[in-house]
Each structure stands twice: as C-alpha cells, then as structure tokens.
Symmetry: C2
Subunit: 233 residues, 2 copies
DNA sequence: TGTGACGTATAAGTCTGACTTTTTATGTGG
DNA sequence: CCACATAAAAAGTCAGACTTATACGTCACA
C-alpha cells in the first residue's frame, strides 16, 4: 500500500510522517535530528534525508540552533499523495474524506465536460466497458468488482479531460472511493441510480455532449456529498 | 521568490529541479549521484538529500545499480507548489498557465458558494475592502495595486470556503494572477466588467447568496479562460 | 531601569571515506 | 540455448570530525 517503503529511509518516513500528520507532534513542537536518529536507530545521514523530505512537504521547518519545528496544519502540502495517504490512515480520516469529496464535486464535473470534448475513441470504449463492469457487479454484494470498475471509470474521465492537474487526481479519487467501500457503511449494493448515471455519462461522452456530461457528473458527486451528510451546494 | 534558497542543499535543488521540469533531462534519463555531486561541487551527502526531495516530488526515481531516473511527466506531483513554481519559470509556462486556469475555473465557483455559507463577518469585511481596492486601482495603469487586491480577494474567498484543499490553492491563484499581469499582455487597465463582478461577488457573499456567488465566480473564471483563448465549457 | 554590544553554547549543516547491499550484466558450463 | 554462478556498478548506510548560523544570556553603559 505504501509507496515509500523502499529502504531504511522510507521506513522511518512511514513512521514519522503519519505521527506528525496525526497530530502526535502538535504544530510548534520541536524535534532534534540527533534524538530522532537515536530513536529510530539510524544514522544521522538517513535521518537528515527524512527531515528534508518532510520539509519539502511543508510538514516541518528545519532551522539552525533551533531544531526541526512542526508547521501549522494550514501550511502542509495537502495535495501531496503521501500526505493524503498518511492523513487518510489517521484519526481525522472522516474530516479528510469530506474535504476530498468536496474537491471531487468541484473538479469532476468540469473534467467530464472536457472529456466529452477531448476523449479519444479508445477512451470512450474504455468508459463504456467500465460502465458495463459496474452494472455487472451492481448486485449480489460484488462490492470489490464494482469498486474496481468505478475507480477505473473515474480515472478514464480525469485522464480524458486532457488537463494534467485533473489527471493527477485519479489516485485521490481512487482513495476516496476505496475508503467509502471498505471503511464506511456500504454493506448494501450500490445505489442503482448511481449506476445508471455512470452508464449515461459514458454515453454522453461518447456522443460529445459536454453539457450533459457535466450535469450527470454533478449528480454523481452530489450523491457522494449526500452520503457524507454534506448539504449540496 | 524561491522558497528553498536556505543552505547549500536548497541552492542545488533550485538549479536541478527547474532543469528537470524544463525537460533538460527527458523522462528516462539516468543521472548518477556522484556525477551530480561533482558537477555542483558538493558532497554526496548534500546531493543525496537533493535526490531524496526530488524523489518525494515524483520527479525522479532512485534505484540501486541503475541510478536516478527521471520519471515521465504524467507521474510528477504537479500540485507541489515548488514544482508549480519551477514549471511556471520554465519554457512551458503558457501550457502550465492554461492548466492552472482551467483548475481555477473548476475550484473557485464551488469555493465561492461555500464561502457564501461559511464566511465570517471579518472575512466579509475583508472581501469588500479588497473589492474597493480593486475599484480604486482599476484606472490609470495602477496594475500593481490592482493585482495586490485581486490576489487578496481570491485568497479570502478560498480561505472562507472552509475547505483546506481549496484554501491551499491560494498560492497557485496568486501565481496565475501575477503571471497574467507581469508576463502576458496586460498593458491596458483591467476589464471594468471584471471589477464589477468582484464587487458583486463580495456583496453576494455578504448576503449569504451562495447560488449567486457561484454564478458570479463562474463568470469571472470564464473571463480568465477567454483571455487565454480557451473556449468556455 | 532599560538598552545595546558581545560572547557562548547549541543544533543544524557539511564533508570525507570506508563499508554494505541490491540489482544487473556477463560469462561459463551443461 | 538455457541455467546458474560470478563480478561489477551504483545506491544505501554508517561514523566521526569539522563548520556555520543563531538564539540567548551577560555585562557594560547610558
């Protein structure tokens, strides 16, 4: 699951990073490289590399004669996939899922509209294939199969938009959808209305109907907002 | 301008990072830590820290016995403020500005709608103040003053939305607006219609009219899209 | 009592060189 | 031609010494 894992450095990062994002060291806390190196039983070189990465994520700030200070949450690079993963694994997961779902509700409709203009024939085909996969797995507690096609579907939309900023949110959307299926309440089969909307969306993109694609996606994301009891804008 | 600058490590990063994002080392290129250390005349420790940071940005991948490989553009962490800055400073600045403006057109209307619901009295006051500042600087080539208030205005909207993901895009919006004023053609005074829209938006937020705030912001961002010859969705 | 210059301790920053580990290429024998 | 052993290459890790910036306390002076 964790992308980092490689090497001693990555293992330390995967421990310390989540501790910070979880609030284990509140903003303003001061860490010292030497102490951390001792605690994790690694050399200062390794520890320094870890601190540098945390610094590049704006989680901490390293200053001479002071130490490594934890920055206030508002300054964190919250779009860093690593940070997102750490926070989703931590205590304020619900809050994080809400933020990300609101983000989805802003991005995906516009992305779908662009996809309707820019999607290649191949992407259209993938889209319908994913939609069919969702239909096929929409009954009988085949949640994993449904999730798989759902994630693929939204990835194709984001990629087909032709905007790299949108495309890079594919992982985020995947995390949100997976989170909904695995953690939160979803013992029942998915909402048939949502399935229909996806089928129609694939259709709209194939037919180059940007306005309809945007409208349909707005309905989909509004459904996602309602699931989390967020009042729709 | 550059946030990194601090220390030897930061200086190397500020040279190598832009070189990579500018395509100086095409995806697939293989660098070697030792050679880089020689080239920049720094120790391997420093060079390793630089590579670690680039790796955390997904610009490169470091593998044993192979070296440091530049990753394909599609895998870069394009939301990293550092990466955004590097790319905006590079050759594909226009392309980057387009991507970011499209992103704005998706985010800001939703953020404005939320701001209308969540803004504090203080934020409403700031908003009207910024709008007045824009009006005051809208004539007579007072571009810097106008830009200052424009940036502040959009920052307040994003912060007032109450969504941290939106709030963190304040810097990006600032870069885009600054880029428009400084680099691209903007010798003339700003469009009076845009100024009016901002005044009305401040009003809508103050009056808690979410729908109107969203609609007005959509008009503003559509204007920004048209300036870059992007056909409005 | 307040204030400014100065010295000192501290923790990050840097460098060096030796050693380890992983992974790939190469070559050898079946 | 394939399987397996071997070697080489590059990153990874470690230890220790040294440098540099800077926060903070001290002391003299106004």
């Amino acid at each position: 699951m964790s992308t980092t894992g490689r090497g001693l450095h990555g293992r330390v990062l995967d421990t310390l990073g989540p501790e910070i994002t979880a609030g284990g060291y509140p903003p303003g806390s001061v860490l010292r490289t030497d102490e951390l190196a001792q605690r994790f039983d690694v050399s200062r070189s390794v520890m320094r590399e870890v601190v540098r990465v945390l610094e590049s994520m704006h989680l901490v700030e390293s200053r001479r004669r002071v130490g490594v200070t934890v920055r206030p949450t508002r300054e964190w690079n919250v779009y860093d996939p690593q940070v997102i993963r750490w926070r989703l694994a931590g205590a304020d997961r619900p809050r994080q899922l809400r933020s990300l779902t609101v983000l989805r509700s802003a991005i995906e409709p516009v992305a779908a509209g662009l996809a309707a203009r820019n999607a290649t024939a191949e992407q259209c085909a993938e889209l319908t294939e994913c939609a069919l996969g969702m239909v096929a797995n929409s009954r009988g507690h085949r949640l994993e199969g449904y999730l798989f096609h759902d994630v693929a579907f939204h990835r194709v939309i984001l990629n087909a938009s032709g905007n790299e900023m949108f495309a890079r949110l594919g992982d985020v959307v995947a995390e949100v959808l997976a989170g909904r299926t695995h953690h939160d309440v979803m013992f029942e089969d998915p909402d048939p209305a949502a399935v229909t909307l996806h089928v129609q969306l694939a259709e709209a993109v194939r037919e180059r109907d940007a306005a309809r694609a945007e409208r349909l996606t707005r309905e989909i994301t509004e459904g996602a907002l309602q699931e989390l009891d967020i009042l729709a804008p």
